[in-house]
């Protein structure tokens, strides 16, 4: 692994540096600070009188959705968004979000900086079938590096926790990002110091150094521990059947209220009935809770039948 080449500046005719557009895509999950990170970068550009545009979409950000911010800077910037395939740098605050936007990277020269922390949304845990797996991406860092040679994956969130301040994870990433851009480390440090709460300036300074040094040390150690629960192995296909003994049901409604799949109802005779047998997961709550033992749940392996 080698540190990415800093962006190139060419001298213009009047002595001012002419800057080819640099495209940085910052991505993450709502609430992580994607917009804060990109604002700091934009502010830095402004200090150098470099034209900069930063584009994001708000609204859903607070509610845990995917968040992205395009930062483009150079001598002349038109579109506020980065065209697909033209991002020089993808800075990802979460593992799956990094993977989501990989196609934005320049296929020849794009660099990925990614925090390998995994934020698993409730949507990933929705499948009620037996043996269901998490709906999350199971790519490893090595698999990603096959496609993106310039990939720098670090468990920044864990390292930040070890530093004693979880919120410095983004600063570690800024330290990593700083190796690919020409701004001086002290410029980054000063903007970070002006942005973070005063009490945390010192720990953020450390965090920035940590990220920067890690990339520059050409370390091959990722500090990565992919925590996403592994797909369930060796589960057996089963058939689930509910047996209701109507004579014993007195219509107390307990199973109807408690069924997690909400597929039990009382029929016209105040007797429990299943509305969608295919949706029954066989969790047995109704069987256990029924005071009259009117419900039995039969779970049989599919193979056993054949």
């Amino acid at each position: 692994m080698s540190a990415p080449a800093p962006m190139e500046r060419q001298s213009g005719t009047d002595g001012d540096p002419v800057l080819a557009p640099t495209n940085v895509l910052v991505v993450g999950v709502g609430g992580q600070g994607v917009i804060m990170v990109s604002k700091m970068l934009a502010e830095l550009c402004l200090q150098h009188d470099i034209q900069v545009k930063q584009s994001e979409v708000h609204g859903m950000a607070k509610r845990g959705g995917a968040v992205f911010s395009h930062v483009r800077f150079g001598s002349e910037i038109h579109s506020p968004t980065i065209p697909v395939g033209q991002a020089d740098i993808l800075l990802a605050l979460e593992w799956a979000e990094g993977l989501r936007w990989l196609h934005y990277l320049n296929p020849e020269s794009g660099t990925l900086f990614v925090d390998t922390q995994q934020i698993i949304p409730p949507f990933s845990c929705r499948n009620r079938k037996r043996g269901a797996s998490f709906d999350y991406v199971y790519k490893t860092v090595e698999q990603v590096k096959e496609h993106i040679p310039n990939a720098f994956a670090l468990d920044a969130t864990r390292l930040a926790t070890e530093l004693g301040n979880l919120r410095t994870a983004n600063t570690i990433l800024l330290g990593m990002l700083s190796t690919a851009l020409e701004f001086q480390p002290q410029e980054w440090q000063s903007i970070i110091a002006r942005t973070v709460p005063p009490k945390t300036v010192e720990v953020n300074r450390e965090a920035f150094e940590l990220g920067r040094n890690w990339v520059q040390s050409e370390s091959s150690e990722h500090h990565v521990q992919l925590l996403a629960p592994a797909p369930v192995q060796d589960h057996v296909e089963v058939k689930v059947e509910l047996e209701i003994t109507e004579d014993w049901c007195k219509g107390c409604d307990i199973c109807v209220k408690m069924c997690p799949e909400r597929i039990l109802v009382l029929n016209r005779n105040e007797i429990v009935e299943i509305t969608d047998p295919a949706a029954c997961t066989g969790c047995r709550l109704c069987e256990w809770l029924c005071p009259d033992m009117a419900i039995s749940v039969h779970v049989t392996p599919v193979e056993a039948e054949t």
Binding site: G31, I35, R63, V84, G131, N170
Partner: protein
């Protein structure tokens, strides 16, 4: 989600640097700056993404310069601005595109009246519907109302055009629309700051034939509106608002708004006519431009407004044949379009890496009071008419408790119709948030009582406008600038319109919430349940002792997963083939709803004795 909201609250607080005259501003902030620099005295708006930050930013300027206030809805906001213009001071109202539907009644009259001091509407469209229920094109409204529509392409122009809008408004005696889009409103780029021009009040002009829209007066005014259109067209033919950038004569591109920036990026060699004003069309200069090139391509997001105008002028313009009429534009969309048109040859290479993304739709927050109310809707098997707000998220799995959602404030009226229409096999319930209720929910509630409808209204009072980021409203008792004001009492209001059955409940107490909803559904007439837990994010982030899962007794029944709480997810450990669950300690705010639905008492306060 551990680093959550604290970082977010810092978002707006980067200290300014030495170069104070050049500041990075979001499009919306630039518009607010333009309003302030133009010397406007009154600004009014109802929050709505992507327009919300305009009034919030205006509220950061000194109170003695400009009155910035939240209106109860967009109709009120335009009326307030109209009133201020009548009074003799420059005034602005801001809204999202669908807000203009609400405000349009006044706009359609005001266009005949014209203005006294400058009157500017800022309307933010949402192509691609990042956060809206439709993607209507405000330019069509501009044509309809015969009101000029200005189209800035970046933050600098957003500020400059806003100032120009006030000038045009006064020069041509017309309200003026400044049209933004999500991409402009939420894009940050450097803006040269200017000073504020002070405009003393010109006073009210007592001209009844202009100011009072009687039919007799309006008949005189209408021809003047048509004349005005011609005058503005003539003005635009020589105005710098229309910019001709000479390039290759093979292709001429007519474009506007942020589309211009994409055009510059994708076909840098083409001749470009950049329209700073989309209505009325500067016909002379457009015709000269079209005559100067071999082929005319129109690049405009959403409706083919300009393309149609060109066709009417007999110009063989192309546009929607290559560029979609739906969704948001981007350099990629334009590249594909110009490729299809044969204007660019090769598409750039991109990564071929195939990774199925993680579905990450927005969800209700951990501890959101709406979770309980939609669980209650499921419990009573209600037919639910939803409304616009965070709680619209109650429509998606696994809460999946909303059957219809139409527009701001529509829920109660739709519920009345549903009940009258005979769909009464299940209880008919309207769910509506506090601010949406004040926006457009009161007249339909009066209607429901008046017409003796048998419906239940669930008023979700989370004491803020949560969806747009926690703005104040009459129910919070604070103004936009944070001053104390009268705090509206919802229960009193509901009783005053004649509702006899009203009950306030704690949305975290599921048993009493279910019971209240059940009783309300059984009541024959209009029943109102007010659920009253505050939003967990705004105005302050609420964090209590979190709950934890005792994995040894968890039977993986997934009952807690029905809450769709972002703090609850699976662990590797299985029980009878299903994943047991865990609660993220940093995200959980201790609402206790999951503990209430857990049938095995496996969810307990963290640190409590086993």
């Amino acid at each position: 989600m551990t680093k959550a909201t604290a970082a977010q609250h810092q978002d707006d607080s980067i200290a300014p640097t030495a170069n104070a005259k050049l500041r990075p501003l979001m499009g919306n902030e630039a518009i607010a700056r333009g309003v302030w620099e133009a010397g406007a005295k009154v600004g009014s708006a109802y929050p709505g993404t992507p327009s919300t930050e305009i009034l919030e930013s205006l509220g950061e300027f000194p109170a003695e310069d400009v009155d910035a206030q939240w209106a109860t809805n967009e109709k009120v906001s335009i009326d307030v601005a109209i009133g201020a213009s009548f009074a003799g001071v420059r005034a602005m109202c801001a809204m999202k595109h669908v807000g203009l539907n609400v405000a349009s009644d006044s706009l359609m009259s005001q266009t005949y009246i014209g203005v006294n001091a400058g009157l500017v509407l800022v309307v933010c469209d949402d192509p691609g519907m990042h956060s809206s229920q439709n993607e209507q094109d405000t330019r069509v409204f501009g044509q309809f109302a015969m009101v000029p529509v200005l189209e800035p392409s970046d933050a600098q122009e957003a500020k400059d055009f806003t100032k120009r809008a006030f000038e045009l408004s006064e020069q041509f005696d017309t309200p003026v629309i400044v049209r933004s889009t999500t991409r402009l409103s939420h894009c940050r780029s450097p803006v040269h700051l200017g000073e504020r021009e002070e405009h003393a009040s010109i006073g009210f002009k007592d001209i009844p034939s202009k100011n009072v829209t009687l039919p007799a007066h309006a008949r005189v005014r209408h021809p003047l509106v048509l004349e005005r259109e011609l005058k503005i067209q003539e003005y635009l033919n020589t105005s710098d608002l229309i910019r001709w950038e000479r390039g290759s004569t093979e292709v001429g591109v007519i474009t506007l708004s942020t589309c211009y920036t994409y055009v510059r990026e994708v076909v840098p060699g083409a001749s470009i006519l950049k329209l700073g004003v989309s209505y009325p069309l500067a016909q002379d200069v457009v015709r000269r431009f079209c005559d100067s090139v071999d082929r005319v391509v129109v690049v405009e997001e959403l409706e083919p407004v300009i393309e149609r105008e060109l066709r009417i002028m007999g110009i063989a313009a192309e546009g929607k044949a290559f560029f979609p009429r739906i969704g948001e534009f981007s350099p990629e969309v334009l590249r594909a379009g110009f490729h299809k048109a044969g204007i660019i040859k090769d598409l750039p290479k991109t990564h071929s890496i195939e990774i199925a993304g993680v579905a990450r739709p927005p969800v209700l927050c951990a501890g959101c009071s709406h979770i309980g109310t939609f669980m209650a809707m499921r419990a009573i098997n209600a037919r639910v008419m939803g409304d616009i707000g965070c709680y619209t998220l109650g429509a998606i799995e696994p809460l999946k408790a909303i059957d219809t959602c139409v527009a701001m404030g529509a829920s109660i009226g739709v519920a009345v119709g549903m009940a009258k229409g005979g769909a009464t096999d299940r209880p008919v319930v309207a769910t509506i948030g506090d601010s949406t209720f004040l926006h457009a929910g009161i007249p339909p509630l009066i209607d429901a009582v008046y017409n003796k409808a048998n419906i239940t209204v669930l008023l979700l009072d989370n004491q803020t406008v949560a969806m747009t980021g926690g703005q104040d409203n009459p129910g919070t008792g604070r103004t936009l600038r944070g001053e104390q004001t009268h705090r509206l009492d919802f229960e009193q209001l509901v009783r005053a319109v004649g509702v006899k059955w009203v009950k306030s409940v704690d949305s975290y107490n599921l048993a009493s919430l279910y019971q209240a909803c059940r009783e309300a559904a059984q009541y024959n007439g209009v029943a109102v349940v007010i659920s009253n837990r505050p939003c967990v994010l705004d105005p302050v982030k609420i964090k209590g002792t979190p709950f934890e899962v005792r994995a040894e007794s968890c039977t993986a029944c997934q009952a807690c997963m029905n809450l769709a709480c972002p703090a609850i997810s699976w662990i590797d450990e299985l029980f009878d083939g299903h994943h047991k669950v865990k609660i993220d300690q940093a995200t959980c705010m201790g609402c206790s709803m999951c503990a209430q639905v857990c049938p095995t008492d496996s969810i307990q306060l963290s640190g409590a004795a086993p």
